[in-house]
């Protein structure tokens, strides 16, 4: 029974359904692991053990009665920017340290309806701004493969928790790589769906036109199961798309013979570390063996994605974060002299440095006289990048390339150099700007640290992405590797 944490989310769902073990047993085991590892990893902001055990007992009763949803009794965790009724939702910020949401995000409600049990809220870069999880009010999350290293970000708590087998699956959000990059650096699977596939209602907004919720799990099969329950049209989110959700699980095993794979030429650049590139090439060889046909594809505007992103995302963030003003909820400075003082000090004291940097950048690029040169131009480049992807998908089924230029880096290594930190997102941002789905799968190690293969699909091509990733994982065992000391 002490080995329950080794099972995948899919295995756990099946085991609970067949009553091999109870949800209460499982939840208790995982709560123990979370508690034991929290001091080192700092993956959680809140752990909701009591409620989880009560929910697990209810799930057990439902299962005993032959009921319960597809995830009945399965423990999960939510990135701490999904609003959860009655449990605080901090976004990794002092600003929301005291904020308890009066409602559940649509994703939270859907997973709850499917029977999933929430064990807690995971640590993250403040307001999802960061690539290393060092920008959290609650301190950095550590990478279970080497606790001196970052887990990636911003969904670093979710990635570290899944990699350390503290939880079989967790939600994340991906605005510029915040699911895929930490998944790669922690050796797990992470999917960012098509923009509009998963409701953003109740997901505290960073950059509304880029944010998309997704899943972090140990395998593509688990991601398929979790995403199937999370996805779907939501009348509360005008940007969610009203198109049916396929059964991602049912299509996992489709053969790959004849699959047309495009290699993202622009990603195999001088920034890509040689050892990392070797792992990617090895993975591509596996796909060739499975019958896929590889060809190089160029997306000429893709190298412009980092500057484009760092105009669009801060612009939207500067407006989205204006509501945190100390008036209705969240942090309020002590004894404000007047309204202006209330605003200045509440925001000055409530937000961390990176959030302030992005609010200032965003305010600047939207200002009169600069709007055309920055925001408008960035939107035009964004359209060109989107067109590049559309054109590419006329010739290929999926695109492949590296997920990150390097494996995980040391905590503190890039904190003084925001540009170096931003360049870490170079391979991830394109999919966000174009709104296309992408998945990261573990494809080997560099100096004992995991790296990820990125697979990008056309709009609403999640089923194919998961199928391609799953067939790869049937041939390889990288995704089953567990960091030392966490087995």
């Amino acid at each position: 029974m002490s080995e329950l944490h080794k099972r995948t989310l899919t295995e756990l769902a099946a085991g609970l359904r067949s009553r091999k073990f109870s949800s209460v047993e499982l939840v208790r085991a995982l709560l123990g692991r979370i508690e034991a590892r929290q001091g080192v990893l700092n993956a959680f902001v809140s752990v909701t053990g009591e409620q989880a055990l009560a929910d697990a007992a209810a799930a057990d009763r439902a299962l005993a009665a032959g009921g319960g949803g597809a995830l009945a009794g399965v423990p999960i965790a939510h990135k701490d920017l999904f609003c959860t009724r009655g449990v605080r939702t901090t976004c990794g910020s002092r600003m929301l340290d005291n904020f308890v949401s009066p409602y559940d995000a649509t994703v939270v409600a859907k997973l709850k309806a499917a029977g999933a049990i929430t064990l807690g809220k995971t640590n993250m870069d403040e307001f999802a701004m960061g690539s290393s999880n060092e920008n959290s009010y609650y301190g950095p999350v550590r990478n279970p493969w080497n606790v001196k290293l970052v887990p990636g970000g911003s969904s670093g708590g979710s990635a570290a928790a899944v990699a350390a087998r503290l939880i079989p699956g967790a939600t994340g959000t991906d605005t510029g790589g915040s699911i895929r990059q930490p998944a790669a650096l922690c050796g797990i699977t992470g999917i960012k769906p098509t923009y509009g596939r998963v409701s953003r209602y109740g997901m505290v907004a960073f950059a509304s036109s880029l944010d998309q919720g997704g899943a972090l799990t140990t395998s593509a099969a688990d991601a398929a199961l979790m995403l199937r329950e999370m996805a779907g049209f939501d009348p509360n989110d005008s940007t969610s798309v009203d198109t049916a959700v396929p059964d991602y699980v049912a299509g996992l095993d489709a053969p790959l013979a004849g699959l047309k794979v495009g290699l993202l030429k622009e990603f195999f650049d001088k920034g890509l570390e040689a050892e990392n590139e070797r792992r990617i090439r090895e993975a591509l060889a596996v796909f060739e063996k499975l019958g896929a046909r590889l060809r190089e594809v160029s997306l000429p505007n893709l190298p412009l994605s980092v500057p484009t992103y760092y105009v669009v995302a801060p612009a939207e963030a500067s407006s989205n974060l204006a509501r945190f003003d100390g008036v209705r909820y969240g942090y309020r400075c002590k004894e404000p002299r007047d309204l202006l003082d209330l605003y200045k000090r509440s925001r000055g004291e409530g937000f961390g440095a990176e959030v302030k940097r992005r609010i200032m950048t965003g305010t600047y690029v939207l200002s009169a006289g600069y709007y055309d040169a920055y925001y408008l131009r960035a939107q035009k480049v964004r359209q060109l990048i989107t067109d590049d992807f559309r054109r590419a998908f006329r010739d290929v089924d999926v695109l492949m390339g590296p997920m990150t230029p390097t494996a995980a880096f040391a905590i503190g290594a890039k904190t003084d150099d925001p540009i170096a930190m931003y360049l870490n997102d170079i391979y991830t941002i394109g999919a966000n700007l174009a709104g296309v789905p992408a998945i990261s799968v573990p494809c080997g190690f560099v100096d004992g640290l995991p790296v990820g293969l990125q697979i990008v699909g056309p709009h609403f091509g999640e089923a194919r992405l998961l199928n391609v990733a799953h067939r790869y994982q049937r041939e390889t065992d990288w995704h089953t590797r567990v960091p030392q000391g966490y087995a």
Partner: protein, 479 residues
């Protein structure tokens, strides 16, 4: 001719009469306790998203069709960013570069009867802000977000207006229109219909506009007129004494009767407009536009033209009677009941009825005097049962007692005397009682005719048929 020409453009804010808010399901009813009608979307909670109210869109389209404007097949919501406690999200969702309605016009009638076309640059959808409360809250400011998210359509005119009077005429015209369309209740006291006025002056004959000042938040026709007149003389005085008009936002203080600049802090805003990424472009199909077109009522101008020709009324009377849909309907009900006499009906509706309603601050639709009742009274004038003078007494009795005209006439014996011999008998009596006056009259003092009319009317309690009385009296006095 004046040396200065005034140039005015109005931005009218009309609150749309939807049941729920523009981006949330909260009710829009006026007068609820503070924040009772503010849900998580209105409060700007983390994670919430706006969902556009389709009814607000249909109302904006209706307006656009009524002013012969272009309805955008695709329009865009934008964020107007600024910090204020009554603005929970830190931005207002509005429309900026691509509004839903553009290039319309309404016609107004000037004092000399000339018809002037006032261009409407655009009309766009936006959400209202909340309110700051100070009364009864010493040392703190309260925030009421009931109004936050109430749908507004902002109707922006071209700078075609040349006087405060024209501005008021135009604003009244738009007021009439939105009420005809049933897209706004027009209640100015509650702020459902208000405007900002952009005012500038220039030397007569010059092309270039002068520097303008924007007077914010005028919520009565009287204030619009007074504020503009004040502002125009302020600007002229300034320019004539060698000064310069500063482009700024001003507030009208009705107690002092003057406009004053708002604090510069508030006007130095750079709103950083950009398309709201939470809302997709608003795409309208031809089918929807045609569906809305089919719901358009007869519009005020059409109705006035029809009244003028169908009821042979002057343009002025037709204009007054069609000022509201309710008044026009009342008038037509009276005419229908009367089976004719449209001029008589017009005089009474615009005269006695309007005065009585006005006196008690009632709307024509209040039901105080139903159209059939008034028609009942007018019938008795038409068939000469009572004179017009007696009819006014009957009207007052009907108004205060709620009885019908015939009941009042019977009860008070007001029926007109049309029996010639009865009138002649009274004339004889009056002549007998006033021999001196009779002699004077017959000696050529024609003015005494009125004295005899008065005496007979007095003796009959005003009930003698005036035409008959005149005729008979002339004959008798003449000997």
């Amino acid at each position: 001719m004046s040396e200065w020409e005034t140039v005015i453009g109005l931005e009218i804010h009309a609150q749309l009469a939807t049941r729920s808010k523009i981006f949330s399901g909260s009710a829009t009813a006026y007068g609820a306790p503070p924040n009772a009608q503010a849900n998580l979307v209105d409060l700007g909670y983390p994670g919430v998203l706006p969902v556009l109210n389709g009814e607000a869109v249909r109302m904006a389209v209706k307006l656009g069709l009524a002013i012969n404007a272009r309805i955008a097949r695709s329009s865009v919501f934008a964020r107007k960013n600024y910090f204020y406690p009554d603005l929970p999200k830190g931005y207002q969702i509005s429309q900026y570069e691509l509004p839903i309605v553009a290039d319309g016009a309404v016609d107004i009638v000037l004092d000399d009867g000339e018809v002037k076309r006032i261009g409407i640059t655009r009309a766009h959808l936006e959400e209202d802000a909340g309110k700051s409360l100070h009364e009864g809250l010493p040392g703190v400011t309260g925030i009421d977000l009931n109004r936050a998210g109430t749908p507004l359509v902002e109707i922006v005119s071209e700078p075609h207006l040349r006087s405060a009077k024209e501005a008021v005429t135009y604003m009244k015209k738009v007021h009439t229109l939105v009420r005809y369309l049933e897209i706004c209740d027009g209640n100015m006291q509650e702020g459902s219909f208000r405007c900002d006025a952009n005012v500038s002056v220039r030397r007569a004959g010059t092309q270039k506009f002068g520097t303008r000042a924007e007077i914010k938040n005028l919520n009565s026709f009287r204030f619009v007129e007074r504020a503009i007149n004040y502002e125009v003389s302020r600007q002229i005085d300034l320019l004539e004494s060698g000064g310069q008009v500063v482009q700024e936002t001003r507030l009208y203080d009705p107690d002092q009767g003057e406009t004053r600049p708002m604090r510069s802090k508030e006007e130095a805003n750079d709103y950083r407009y950009f398309p709201d990424p939470d809302l997709l472009p608003l795409v309208l199909s031809d089918a929807l536009i045609e569906e809305v077109r089919a719901t358009l009522p007869e519009l005020p101008d059409q109705k006035a033209a029809r009244f003028a020709s169908e009821y042979a009324l002057s343009a002025y009377d037709a204009g007054v009677l069609t000022a509201s849909r309710e008044l026009a309907a009342y008038y037509e009900d009276v005419v229908r009941e009367l089976k004719g006499e449209p001029k008589l009906a017009a005089n009474w509706v615009m005269g006695e009825l309007a005065a009585a309603l006005n006196r008690e601050n009632l709307e024509v639709g209040s039901g105080r005097l139903p159209a059939a009742r008034l028609a009942g009274l007018l019938k008795r004038i038409a068939d000469q049962t009572i004179s017009g003078k007696i009819a006014k007494e009957v009207f007052e009795a009907m108004w205060s007692t709620g009885r019908s005209a015939d009941e009042v006439i019977d009860a008070q014996g007001l029926k007109q005397i049309t029996d010639s011999s009865a009138i002649e008998r009274v004339i004889d009596e009056v002549m007998n009682k006033n021999p001196a006056q009779l002699a004077d009259y017959r000696a050529g003092k024609d003015k005494l005719f009125g004295f005899f009319v008065g005496q007979v009317m007095k003796a009959t309690g005003g009930k003698a048929n005036p035409a008959q009385l005149n005729e008979l009296l002339k004959k008798k006095l003449g000997g």
